[in-house]
Amino acid sequence: MSARPVPPRRLWWLLAGFGVWCSALVFLYAVHAIGCAFAWPAGALRLALAIVLLVHLIAIGWMWRDHGTASPDPSLDSTGAFLHTVIVWTLIAALVTIVLTLGPTLALATCV
């Protein structure tokens, strides 16, 4: 039996990991700007930011569970294995980028 080609729609997954990173950055920046503009208490603002970050970590964790723990689909051609590897590593890279660039900064003073 010949292998199936990878469906083109799977290419969107190449953008998924860092798409989550972009979303996290935009939402954190927006919530922070709104919080400072409306003088939210520091604790409430920090909590809101932490929730935004957590939601994005859960999203990327879900993607990881979906892709990282699964083997490449054996019914797909060799491009399937290639794309699987690239997608998994973009997810890992995006997760590390979220944690390193957006995590520690939440400990800073909020609106100074």
Binding site: F38, V86, P104, L108
Partner: protein, 834 residues
């Protein structure tokens, strides 16, 4: 069939005619060379302007130029190098090389390539002529407001930049869409994504970045031009605007632009280094991951150009950390290249000299980039010559040295000769030494406190010798570039003759005649595992004999293959358009619109814009095939239908990526609205907005009806009925939506000229009206093509494209009109703000 006979038959179909017919050229080789040659002319002009600034700054208290002339010279130098040299040169390389490297005959939309070139040429000419007439842009290459507003720059100088650069950006955007679609759909049969040359990945990611990066700047330029021309105060703080909105929109483009320049050149390096290292590239997969990461992270750090504008520390830290971490994916590539060299058997030749120059200079530029990513250091060095030194190292390191490596590597493809070493080697060292002498010293003078953009300086502040040596370095570098030009020209006559594929490369551009024929490949190569590592030159003869796919001429068609996106299996026969003057005429109409806007002849602007739209509709009338063909043989026992009869033809994907760009522009507009709401001074306005709910709902309903009618037209076509009634209904609905939007704009409070609140509402409504208007053009084209027999149940692409456009219009209209309706609520929320 003999190779010679096949060549004659294909050349008769694909060649561009002589004399004036050259103006009708659409072939990628012709247009690619024109892009590169034109970019090089602008590079030379920009280089002379750069030298003029160095003459001015060589000594203190210099009277060589007066302040106004200096402002124009350095502004045009920067603008020209970025917008008229760097990006177009990248595009030229992409247009000329990508189809050849991917083993196909041309790009998907040759007429669009030609239109992009003419737009670039005319836009660049407008900017260059403005310098001759003394009305050139004079506010710096990033045109910061409020300096560029008509209060502080009352002449046409800033308008020249805004209109000229936007004109060039249209060119860049059209090419970006074309590159994405061509790479995804037009590769050699069997070239699956994991077998695609790494250059293809680099160009794909770069073009996708361009699709998303350019719209924010296009929007910013439109908003600033409407402020200057019509008084809509988007950036005027006294009337509810905010000057920092411009900086956000500009740097949302500006920072990724650095990587848009870097990545294609990194693609060239990733192609050249393995050839000279005599081994395959190390870390193909890691590099693909790295360039995807780089593409995203480069967008997420635009604020690092704005560290001194007063943004809270916590937000600065996001962008500081991102700016530092962007070095990681960059380093992955550099280590992959070093590993390739370390594990191979490197040989030394002229391209490798420039690769060495790249490593040295880009590493230095990267390190100062990490320094500038750190907020406290950035505050000290901001707007000093340290920054000037940094970005010259990054941009020149990322572009100039790999570009020259690429020229020396690929020029034998055109000339059939190699470089004249007695000129090439001294030229390299002059460029390398001159470059470092010029720009390294700028780090030091910057740390000593010299601000950028000053036209002169006093003689007692300790900057004299550094500036003098920097200027001397500039002249050495210029002599080096002069020698490079002489060397490149001398190569045509005095270079050592070489056989095909002089470097023993494995990419397909070397498997074709030297110089490349207009059809590129007499037959298309099949990619298989066995052939991957064989030298391309060995396959050339069999391809020339027509032993690959499409090794014949048929119906006078310019044929190439469309493939499955991931596997590269042949799935459609793409018939490309022949040479035509339409791209030139359309670009001339567009240029007329731009010039009329510049000189405030607004009626002429409108007429020229309508003419441009009409010419686009006219171009559509000569596209496609007039009857159904069904599957046609393409060689090797394979038959595929023409692109007009398949669902995933290039126009479908082109519209999807165009809508991605359009959606980015819309998102930037929505961002601008919220940004002004949250950050601009003098909000809320004196007058409270009260949009007419019924008119807004009427507009939305009309657009939904138009989208539904488009579906109806498709159903009618599929079932053998008449689609014309549905199309007429969609046209009426769109006219109603436009009328509702115009009425809403007329009733906006506060008036758009009085407060940014009204101006943003007007911009949102105008966006909806313009999209409805473009929808009308789609429908007119549908009617004309139905009448001409170019549409059938099997050839339904036109109606599907219209449906997609109207769906997008309806969706964005719901958001835009919803936001306009929500403005009173948003303004009311500002009450409790401290």
């Amino acid at each position: 069939m003999s190779a010679l006979r096949l060549h004659r038959e294909l050349a008769a179909i694909w060649a561009t005619g002589p004399g004036l017919q050259r103006l009708a050229a659409v072939n990628h080789s012709v247009i690619g060379l024109r892009f590169m040659a034109t970019a090089f002319v602008f590079f030379a002009i920009g280089g002379v302007l750069g030298m003029l600034t160095r003459v001015q700054l060589a000594t203190p208290d210099s009277d060589f130029m007066d302040p106004e002339t200096y402002n124009q010279v350095f502004t045009v130098h920067g603008s020209m190098m970025l917008f008229l040299f760097a990006i177009p040169m990248i595009e030229g390389v992409a247009v000329y090389l990508t189809p050849k490297i991917l083993g196909t005959r041309d790009f998907a939309f040759p007429r669009l390539t030609a239109y992009g070139y003419w737009c670039y040429l005319f836009g660049g000419t407008i900017i260059t002529l403005s310098l001759v007439f003394g009305v050139a842009p004079n506010g710096g290459w990033f045109m910061y407001t409020p300096l560029s507003s008509n209060v502080y720059t009352p002449g046409v100088n800033a308008d020249v930049w805004l209109l000229g650069v936007t004109f060039v950006e249209i060119s860049a955007l059209t090419l970006a869409v074309e590159i994405v679609v061509s790479i995804l759909k037009m590769r050699a049969p069997g070239m699956a994504l994991d077998r695609m040359p790494i250059f293809g990945w680099y160009m794909l990611v770069t073009a996708l970045m361009m699709v998303v990066a350019f719209p924010p700047l296009i929007l910013g330029s439109i908003l600033l031009e409407t402020e200057r021309a019509f008084g809509l105060p988007f950036f005027d703080p006294k009337r509810g605007g905010d000057a920092l909105l411009w900086q956000h929109l500009f740097w949302l483009f500006g920072h990724p632009d650095v990587y848009i320049i870097f990545l294609p050149m990194a693609g060239a390096l990733s192609t050249i280094i393995p050839v000279f290292a005599n081994r395959r590239l190390v870390g193909y997969r890691a590099i693909v991951v790295a360039i995807i990461a780089l593409a995203f992270v480069s967008f997420g750090i635009w604020v690092h150009h704005m560290f001194t504008v007063g943004i809270p520390h916590l937000a600065l830290a996001f962008f500081s950390a991102g700016s530092a971490i962007v070095a990681v994916p960059t380093s992955v590539q550099i280590f992959a290249w070093l590993a390739t060299l370390a594990h191979g058997r490197p040989r030394w030749d002229v391209p490798m000299l420039y690769v060495f120059g790249f490593f040295f200079i880009f590493a230095l530029g990267g390190l100062t980039g990490v320094m500038l990513a750190i907020v406290p250091f950035n505050w000290q060095a901001h707007d000093s010559y340290f920054v000037v030194a940094h970005f010259h190292y990054v941009v020149a390191g990322a572009l100039a040295f790999p570009m020259l490596a690429a020229f020396y590597y690929w020029l034998p493809l055109l000339t059939g000769r190699t470089a004249v070493h007695r000129l090439s080697v001294p030229a390299f060292w002059l460029v390398f030494i001159g470059f470092n002498l010029t720009f390294f010293l700028m780090h030091l003078v910057g740390l000593l406190g010299m601000p950028r953009r000053i036209y002169t300086y006093p003689g007692d502040v300790g900057w004299n010798w550094l500036n003098l040596l920097s200027s001397v370095g500039g002249f050495i570098m210029t002599i080096g570039f002069g020698l490079v030009v002489i060397d490149l020209l001398a190569q045509f006559r005095y270079g050592r003759r070489v056989r095909r594929d002089p470097w023993r490369a494995t990419t397909f551009e070397w498997a074709m005649p030297i110089p490349p024929a207009p059809y590129a490949f007499a037959s298309l190569p099949q990619v298989g595992t066995a052939a991957d590592d064989s030298a391309a030159g060995e396959r050339a003869l069999s391809l020339a004999r027509g032993e690959g796919y499409l090794g014949f001429a048929r119906n006078g068609w310019q044929e190439t293959l469309g493939v499955h996106m991931t596997s590269g299996a042949p799935e459609q026969l793409i018939v490309l358009p022949r040479p035509t003057y339409l791209p030139l005429c359309t670009a001339l109409a567009t240029a007329t619109a731009v010039l009329a806007m510049l000189f405030q002849f607004y009626a002429l602007t409108l007429a020229a814009a309508l003419l441009t739209a009409g010419l686009f509709v006219l171009a559509g009338q000569s596209a496609g095939l007039a009857r159904d063909y069904g599957p046609l043989p393409v060689g090797h026992g394979v038959s595929v239908p023409p692109h007009t009869e398949v669902a995933g033809a290039p126009p479908w994907w082109a519209l999807i990526f165009t809508l991605v760009a359009d959606g980015t522009l819309f998102a930037s507009l929505v961002f601008g609205t919220f940004y002004l709401w949250i950050a601009a001074p003098n909000w809320p306005a004196a007058a409270t907005p009260a949009p007419d709910l019924m008119l807004a709902l009427a507009a939305i309903v009309a657009l939904v009806v138009a989208a539904a009618a488009a579906r109806g037209s498709l159903r009618a076509l599929a079932t053998g009925g008449s689609a014309r009634g549905w199309i007429a209904l969609a046209m009426l609905a769109l006219l109603a939506a436009i009328a509702a939007c115009v009425a809403l704009i007329g009733g906006i409070a506060p008036p758009p000229r009085e407060h940014a609140l009204g101006a943003t509402a007007a911009a949102l409504l105008f966006y909806v009206a313009v999209h409805a208007g473009i929808g009308l053009l789609f429908l007119v084209s549908n009617l004309l093509r139905l009448g001409a027999g170019l549409v059938s149940p099997l050839r339904s692409m036109d109606l599907r494209l219209t449906r997609l456009w109207l769906d997008y219009t309806a969706m964005t209209a719901v958001i835009a009109l919803g936001l306009v309706l929500a403005l009173p609520l948003l303004v009311a929320m500002l009450g409790p703000r401290p």
